[in-house]
Symmetry: C2
């Protein structure tokens, strides 16, 4: 064995540092600087997300997505940037953030498109009183508590945008609290064969209903925030028109794609290309009118043909979307997360208050509603735990809020904490009150491996 | 039917124009401007590539890749920008080119990685005298003619970089002329079951050999161009060391991935993630030492496990790479192609001279070598046509040349023309001399649908 000479190490590091510094005129980054950084960033991002995700699964029984949410925060200024600021800045210089942003937006849009493709109207199952009670309390409690907490939050400088109306700030907070990780919830329930149980029916109904309301509220906030009434009319009018067009006319125009896949037994590149063109167009239209690209992705997804088409589409698109593009989103989100901004006892108390309110409004209210409607304690606790999990969806909504300037980086960071904690809570609580017993009786399958969101 | 009011049209266009204009401080583009443009660009790019590719297949019997090469040029300043400059600039403002560039580089790197994964050493088949003659003339003639033509080209201002040595300029031209579209060639020959015919054996051997030499020559040019001797040593030393490491040690380290896929019967997300991390690392290393990311992708590809692993990898990665990322590369290349720079009779003659030399050096030399070695006329013509086709590979090498500043935009545009014309020639010539007869006798299958490169 030969010892590596310190000279060689120093020289190698120097070379890498030179390569990673800007090469364009006046110290700017030129095109090839961006692509060099991109390969490095992607290697670091995928590696970190996989390792942290694996650790979370192995030692904490958490789904992969929880690890990836945390991995993003680790790579940002909250940890890597705090410990090794030069190193972090060399890998993620702020000039390259635009490229990461585009990949992240594309990834999240594509993911919401796939969520839309899996969306089943029959999740709105009927279980009479209980379903109504859980759905309603899962949306009423968050908005009620948002009405109480927002005026106080607005007194703290820097949390919300200057000059935002109390109405919009309250709606945004309400939507943030009311949101659930519906795609994850649906996957867990379907994969464990709980779709026909009380817990499954109630969670799916309430999750779908509450999320639909939250996203609509966000759309209204985006449509009315910042611009004049003309812009709001364009946003709401344009958004509704496009959604109606996609759902009623688009669905019929797209149906031949489904038949082509069924006839051929697989999805040809032509069909996949047309699908991607439609996705990009829908995302673009929703961006143009002033809502957000992810709505375009989701609404188009609900109108795509079902069956073999969706199956083939997922096979061809999901791997890169889940392994590469979503981690770019988690990292972009983590780069904006500055836990060091929660740097005083009073701000920490604010963060804890938001967390407590969020748990109370979803876990508490849904549990109570289920109990009052006559469900047993175990079922009600399971429902509460699932409804309280916000996951990727929460990161999406707060990233939109930050990007559009509705909230500032401090509140953003507090909401990242809330998203992580409530998502981390879900698995152990669900396991404790529901999983262990159900698994013993063979009612419950294994934890799904690749669950994203 | 109601007529659309001109007001609404004007208002819609105005809205879109506003959306597409920069929203950052001081008239710069901010992050969300980039993502809005990205969705629009992607829709336009995929649509154009598919439509032009389809037209080429339908009416000219050309493989999809030819249409996509032309589609890229159409979207650039040579056509769309000439006819509708405002419209073209609104869709592809130069600020957003960096994002397109990163996607293009990533796509080409990933594609070369997949090419490497399909690379089979046994293509270097032995057919004695003929194989030797065709391989040798396919590399000797291009470099010989490059020696003759380059001094003349260097007298024309703007074609090459200022101060480039005649040695490097000649090597670069030689590599450009000697290159074949080996991946396309291999696919055509394998899919048509010609691998054991004279034509198949000779073309594959000579194509693989000539391309290997060309890429090595390019690596030498990149290593020695621009920097001092220290940089050249780092580039050649680092590149060779990394290649040796990947091929001899990397192969063994990667073998368990192949066994994991075989054992499970499919590729898990973990294996795919590890594969992507390795790909990004290899691309990054080759970029850092000063060669180019695509070499990192290709060399790693040759070291990946074979069998089920490659099959699963292609299924999961190829669709997005071929439908979305490669068209981004064609478009990026097309945006740099300025056929309007070939704007005088003398420059047009230069372009034609380059084309003539390229055809002579590959088609002519390989045909002659095959004939002299005793192949029949039909086989020799078929070999010449295939060896003369340069496709995507040519675009890759000249884009590297342009990006690194070896050649200027005028010579780049002439070489784009050469790439397109020689690739377009291949199908009809091959069909005329070989295909029609072979198809009648049932020896030849249908033209492959999705052939990229």
């Amino acid at each position: 064995m030969t010892a590596v000479s310190p000279d060689i190490v120093a020289h190698t590091w120097e070379t890498i540092a030179t390569v990673l510094s800007p090469h364009g005129p006046n110290g700017t980054y030129n095109a090839s600087d961006f692509s060099i950084h991109f390969f490095l960033q992607l290697a670091v991002i995928i590696l970190t997300c996989r390792v942290v995700g694996w650790l979370g699964q192995k030692f904490l029984g958490q789904p992969q997505v929880v690890g990836e949410m945390i991995a993003g925060v680790i790579l940002g200024p909250s940890l890597l940037g705090l410990l090794f600021p030069d190193f972090q800045a060399a890998i993620f210089p702020k000039e390259t953030k635009n490229v990461l942003y585009v990949g992240a937006q594309f990834g999240v849009g594509l993911y919401m498109f796939l969520v839309g493709c899996s969306f089943r109207g029959d999740h709105f199952a009927k279980k009479g009183k209980s379903a109504f009670a859980v759905s309603l309390s899962g949306i009423a409690a968050p908005f009620l508590l948002a009405v109480l907490i927002t005026p106080w939050l607005m007194t703290i400088p820097g949390l919300f945008a200057e000059g935002i109306s109390r109405f919009n700030a309250t709606l945004f907070m309400g939507a943030c609290i009311a949101l659930t990780a519906f795609p994850m919830l649906a996957r867990i329930i379907n994969e464990r064969g709980l779709a026909n149980s009380s817990l499954g029916t109630l969670s799916l109904t309430a999750g779908a209903f509450d999320d639909a309301v939250s996203w609509c509220v966000l759309a209204v906030v985006l449509a009315t925030f910042g611009g004049g009434p003309g812009i709001a009319v364009l946003a709401i009018g344009g958004g509704v028109l496009w959604a109606l067009f996609v759902v009623f006319i688009g669905r019929r125009l797209l149906a031949p794609l489904g038949r082509a896949v069924e006839a051929r037994g697989e999805m040809s590149y032509t069909v996949l290309a047309i699908t991607l063109i439609c996705f990009c167009t829908s995302a673009f239209v929703m961006d143009v009118v002033g809502i957000h690209a992810i709505f375009g992705g989701f609404i188009l997804g609900t109108a795509m043909p079902r069956g073999k088409f969706v199956q083939e589409l997922k096979q061809k698109v999901e791997p890169l979307a889940v392994i590469m593009l979503l981690p770019m989103f988690f990292t972009y989100s983590g780069l904006n997360t500055r836990l060091d901004m929660v740097n005083s006892l009073s701000l920490l108390l604010v963060a804890l208050a938001i967390l407590a309110v969020s748990v109370l409004a979803k876990f508490g209210a849904c549990y109570a509603a289920a109990r009052i409607s006559g469900e047993d304690n175990r079922t009600a606790l399971g429902i509460g735990a699932l409804m309280n999990s916000r996951g990727l969806m929460e990161l999406i909504i707060i990233n939109i809020g930050l990007q559009k300037g509705i909230i500032g980086p401090a509140l953003f960071s507090m909401l990242v904490l809330m998203a992580i904690v409530t998502t981390v809570m879900a698995s152990p609580v669900f396991e404790m009150v529901y999983g262990r017993k159900a698994r013993e009786s063979g009612e419950l399958g294994a934890v799904p491996d690749n669950a994203a969101s």
